[in-house]
Subunit: 170 residues, 2 copies
DNA sequence: CAAAATATGTCAGTACTGTTGACATATTTT
DNA sequence: AAAATATGTCAACAGTACTGACATATTTTG
């Protein structure tokens, strides 16, 4: 195997760290944390022939039953063509049902079935367990910081959407 | 458009919240936060014809110059076939160079070029800015909690890898 | 009422990132 | 000399996203 280039591209041998005050530690931690956060449901979904996109749809339909297709697209920030396949599979598998909108009959309201509710809970369980364990490691008084931090990481325009979802006390 | 099924799949009309003590709030916040966290570099990468996978390779090669291919695969947890395309493109574009390993000549040590270093920094900058702003919103004393929480979210077996990366004080 | 706008669905093509399986080459270890 | 290792490469496939175009039903507007 020959060396791929000899166009005198000089290799840099020093590790980048803290340059321009860039927070590489948190950047990496966020990557690793999210990867492992999604790994448990990913494994479960594989048994159903579903992927991460199915999980997200199932999650938000369970969190806000009666959601219209347009509202779901707005939350997920994907195109309707992307949603279509995933949603169709969830409907065909009996996890989600569509009802014609009562006010506007063009709309399709999305509801979970008992099966869809059960799957959503099963997928959320290991994620919640992981979060709970991490909070205990950190100290329970850290929760407010963590919630505040994550919310502050979200684009300001979108925070309204988050507040529109059901809260813990409901 | 007919209703897709009439197999008497009963819709559930109540939102799921706090069931089985599941922490839906943090699950969702983590999803939204990560999505927006990756959106800035994603946009920049599109200009180069690169994707998120290129970003990750570039990041870790910059964080640990001299990394071998096997070490990189171990960090990213992908197959070598997945890495191959992405790595080849980065090498061809002059962001990364490969040097034959000094001890073991089968190995290929990966180093960033000046161009690769510059791109890595440019991609990290908006992410770090977002993190910095979020920390300020939260209060600076929350940083330890957030770092601890994110690290605790990572699978224990993999935390050693994280500790092996350069720290801020180096 | 007719026309325009809206909500949804669908077809076709493409890109990126990941997978598995198989096999080749160079090098090191046994 | 044989086996193991590090890397590279070819082929096929899957999941999730994208764009563009067009169809249908329904509501809103002029």
């Amino acid at each position: 195997m020959p060396d791929r280039k000899n166009t005198s591209e000089t290799p840099i041998r020093t590790a980048v760290a803290n340059e321009d005050g860039i927070d590489f530690v948190l950047i990496e931690l966020f990557f690793f944390a999210y990867r492992d956060f999604t790994s448990d449901p990913d494994q479960m979904l594989a048994h159903y022939g579903f992927g991460r996109a199915h999980h997200r749809v199932l999650h938000f339909v369970n969190r806000g039953p009666g959601l219209t297709v347009a509202e779901l697209l707005d939350v997920l920030k994907i195109t309707k063509q992307s949603l279509a396949r995933v949603l169709k599979q969830l409907i065909d598998a009996g996890h989600i049902v569509q009802l014609q909108g009562p006010r506007d009959r063009r709309q399709r309201e999305l509801y979970p079935t008992a099966k869809g509710r059960a799957l959503a809970l099963a997928l959320a369980r290991p994620q919640s367990r992981r979060i709970h364990a991490a909070l205990q490691d950190t100290g329970a008084e850290g929760r407010a910081f963590i919630e505040g931090f994550l919310k502050a990481m979200v684009n300001p325009e979108l925070r309204a959407q988050i507040d529109a979802l059901p809260k813990a006390q409901e």
